[in-house]
């Protein structure tokens, strides 16, 4: 025989709350989920009037297409010219492509001794089972160094545009607390998925020289995992292990390791000196010389870049 339990205890029970929610009696999230309320933008009457007047004057003086025939003609011509230029470019490129060698033809100029050596000697030369990893991180490592610097400089430029340095000082910092950080479904799903995503990302990065994948793809997976975590648990939780400084130092460490290690490799290669880096046994996890650590560096840079893009565009800071 079931025992009657007091109302307080019943309220705490998950099954009871679930029933309530099903019946529509109670919204579980009322009072828990906080959102920042939009404030009305400065609306003194004079300002509105002045703004309107300015805009009218601007349109009357400059963009008056009714009477200013130069602008009228120009805008028409502009649209027409844009369309004509685009169509001309498309037609030109399509015609050109039809003259190029057909895709997949074995006699194409691109199938020459360069590709042949990559495929035949790739594993022996670089120690990487994954030919692509051997190509981008050993044969043409200088290009990939440039590529990871593109990511680095992209972060720098976004940072200088979007980072809101004034926020840290002012009272706006409370803004961090107003976010939908208590979504139970998202949190539970993230609780399960986040470790899996991170482990999968690490696997893709670490196995870059053995299987398809590598720093760029694995880093993207890890970055996506971090973004998911941020959305589920909010800034406060993620800043326990990932802040702006973490990002700064990870990027610095990864890129300077890449720069110095590869400099050593370039220098010894060009001067025909003996290098201490061996290719190891192909197929082992620690093998392929510098490819293994460089993949990790690239992965870290890509993950940090993705995550910092997200936070910078979202709130202008970490």
């Amino acid at each position: 025989m079931s025992r009657q339990i007091p109302q307080d205890e019943l309220n705490k029970k998950k099954s009871y709350r679930f029933k309530q929610w099903m019946k529509g009696e109670v919204d579980q999230y009322v009072g828990i989920m906080e959102m920042q309320r939009q404030e009305e933008v400065g609306t003194s009457e004079n300002e509105v009037k002045k703004h309107k007047k300015d805009q009218e004057k601007l349109f009357a003086d400059i963009y008056d297409k009714e009477h200013n025939w130069v602008y009228k003609a120009f805008f028409r011509f502009y649209k027409l010219a844009a369309v004509v230029c685009c169509i001309a470019l498309i037609v030109m490129l399509v015609v050109t492509v039809s003259y190029l060698p057909p895709v997949g033809n074995p006699d194409n100029p691109a199938h020459n001794e360069v590709v042949e050596k990559y495929i035949e000697d790739g594993m022996q030369d670089t120690g990487a089972v994954n030919i692509v990893a051997g190509m981008i991180l050993d044969y043409r490592a200088f290009d990939t160094f440039g590529e990871s610097n593109v990511l680095f400089i992209a972060t720098v430029v976004v940072m200088l545009l979007m980072r809101d340095d004034k926020k840290k000082k002012g009272e706006d910092s409370a803004d961090m607390n107003y976010e939908p950080g208590f979504d139970k479904i998202l949190q539970q799903v993230t609780f399960i998925l986040f470790p899996l995503i991170m482990i999968f990302g690490i696997y893709v990065v670490v196995n870059g020289h053995l299987s398809p994948g590598g720093g760029f793809s694995g880093g993207a997976i890890m970055g996506a995992g971090l973004i998911l975590y941020l959305n589920a648990f909010g800034v406060e939780k993620i800043s326990r292990f990932f802040t702006e400084n973490t990002h700064k130092y990870i990027c610095f460490a990864a890129l300077s390791f890449y720069c110095l290690a590869k400099s050593y490799s370039f220098f010894t290669g060009a001067n025909h000196l003996e290098s201490i880096i061996s290719t190891g046994v192909p197929g082992m996890i620690v093998s392929a010389g510098l490819i293994f650590p460089l993949n990790i560096c690239v992965g870290l840079v890509v993950a940090c870049t993705m995550y910092s893009f997200y936070t910078l565009f979202r709130k202008g800071g970490y």
Partner: protein, 504 residues
């Protein structure tokens, strides 16, 4: 291999590494690191230049890694590359020094170290563009260059620079896209990315006559892509705002280095990828020639109409870029030499003009209007002297760099066997007169005394040179560089000649 031959590799890596380290440094340390690194690279380039002049090997290739060229990456150095790197380093250091006081004013203090990251990476990418022997490496560093340039414009956070940066980014990415398409098509036709191998395959293709249409389109795409990025006449719409409103160091670097990096890449592609004889025979050259001729006239006309002196100097760049492309458009050896010399002259002079113009506007209550700078040459003597030298050099007065390049252009045009001689000569003289109109009228304006009571009423102050010694030093060194290029042009022209011969 002599140790000095490692210089290109060290220069690229040092500048990139300086950028990476700057990300964790405070602004002051990052600035010092940048100046030290750039000076060091300049000194090393000078060492390499001396070595290349003394040895008789002409050029050499340098393996980036353990794998030889078509498989691994490769860079290549010769007299011309070393000379370019040297001048770029000098101009970069001086531009930065001349604009330091404005950087403190115009850049948010918490973001100042980001500026030095951008400058370091910009130098690294320019050096890579100069030294690379692989066209895909060139593309990767073109990307870095574009992003760095966008950042340099946007670091001064006011409305107009944002607009200018967005416009620059759109135009520049369009240029990158066209360049990338051109590179892809070249790869499809030749199967190579290394410049020397590409040239062999292209010579074969041209002989056999296969791929005539795609080759023409490819040359067009590459030329137009790089022309957009370096602001050739009809594609120059992004230029005046980008140069006119960004902080002064950025304006000087953008006008004198960034656009020159792309033009140098184009020279490399002409010589080392496609071959000058095929370029000269193609119709693309005619188009360049006419665009350049129009640019020389319209750029100068716009500069005459412009009331804002920073924007006036920016419009003058359109005309000067036109000169450079006109030299290419002639399609002869002499035209190329004149263009390369003009690149050096323009980077030395345009940055001097930007740096000294900022001194003149500072002495005129930060107003940039043409009439407000009346008498500014007396209020800020060192900036006035800099502007005077820059102007007479641009107009082409003997003793200064501009005279030599104009003379070279005139000689090249006279020696041209084709119909291009007449338009080139006529437009050269017209453009010179127009140059004189807007530069000399500004010089007269800054040396027209303003009545003392009016100066006082407007609150204009005299700025003695001792107030900012770094700025004065930068201007004096720029003047010296100009005079050296002008009075000592013979050896430099010989170096350019030898360098271009080795490009073949």
């Amino acid at each position: 291999m002599a140790f000095v031959q490692n210089v290109p590799f060290f220069s690229i890596m040092i500048s990139m590494f300086a950028g990476i380290v700057s990300s964790i440094l405070p602004a002051k340390a990052a600035r010092r690191l940048n100046i030290v690194a750039t000076t060091l690279i300049g000194a090393m380039s000078a060492w390499l230049l001396v070595f290349m002049l003394q040895s008789d090997m002409g050029y050499y290739t340098y393996m980036m890694g353990h794998f030889p060229a078509p498989w691994g990456n490769e860079i290549r150095a010769g007299v011309l590359e070393a000379l370019m790197a040297l001048i770029f380093c000098i101009v970069m250091v001086l531009s930065l020094m001349g604009g330091l006081h404005k950087l403190d004013e115009e850049v948010e203090p918490s973001k100042e170290n980001l500026y030095y990251i951008l400058v370091d990476l910009l130098l690294g990418s320019l050096l890579a563009l100069i030294y690379t022997n692989d066209i895909f490496t060139a593309y990767v560093f073109v990307e870095i260059n574009t992003l760095a340039a966008c950042g340099l414009i946007a670091i001064r956070q006011i409305g107009r620079t944002f607009e200018a940066a967005v416009r620059y980014m759109i135009m520049s990415l369009l240029g990158s896209g066209l360049l990338l398409m051109g590179i892809c098509m070249l790869y499809d036709m030749t199967g190579h990315l290394l410049m020397s191998n590409m040239k062999e395959s292209i010579a074969m293709i041209m002989e056999e006559g296969t791929y005539a249409v795609p080759m023409l389109v490819t040359i067009g795409l590459i030329v137009v892509g790089l022309a957009i990025k370096s602001a050739l006449f009809p594609f120059h719409a992004w230029l005046p705002d980008a140069y006119g409103y960004s902080t002064v160091s950025s304006a000087a670097m953008l006008s004198s280095l960034v656009s020159k990096g792309y033009i140098f890449l184009l020279v490399k592609i002409f010589y080392r990828v496609i071959g000058l004889e095929y370029i000269a025979g193609s119709q693309v050259l005619n188009i360049i020639f006419w665009f350049a001729i129009c640019g020389m006239i319209f750029g100068s006309m716009n500069a005459i109409w412009e009331k804002d002196i920073r924007r006036m100097i920016a419009f003058s760049s359109v005309a000067q870029i036109g000169y450079i492309y006109m030299g290419f458009g002639l399609g002869t050896e002499a035209g190329m030499i004149a263009s390369v010399f003009h690149m050096l002259m323009h980077s030395a002079t345009k940055s001097l003009l930007f740096i000294s113009a900022i001194g003149l506007t500072d002495a005129s209550g930060y107003k940039r209007d043409f009439f407000e700078v009346t008498g500014a040459g007396y209020r800020n003597k060192i900036a006035g002297a800099g502007f005077l030298v820059g102007s007479v050099s641009m107009v082409g007065v003997p003793m200064f760099a501009g005279f030599v390049s104009k003379l070279l252009f005139a000689e090249a045009a006279m020696a041209d066997p084709s119909w291009r001689m007449f338009p080139a000569i006529i437009v050269l003289s017209i453009s010179t007169i127009l140059n004189a109109v807007y530069f000399l009228k500004t010089v007269l304006r800054i040396y027209t005394p303003m009545p003392a009571e009016e100066e006082r009423a407007k609150g204009y102050v005299r700025i003695p040179w001792k107030q900012n010694k770094v700025y004065a030093a930068a201007i004096i060194l720029f003047i010296v560089l100009n005079v050296v290029l002008g009075c000592n042009s013979k050896p430099i022209i010989m170096m350019i000649e030898e360098g271009l011969r080795n490009f073949m």
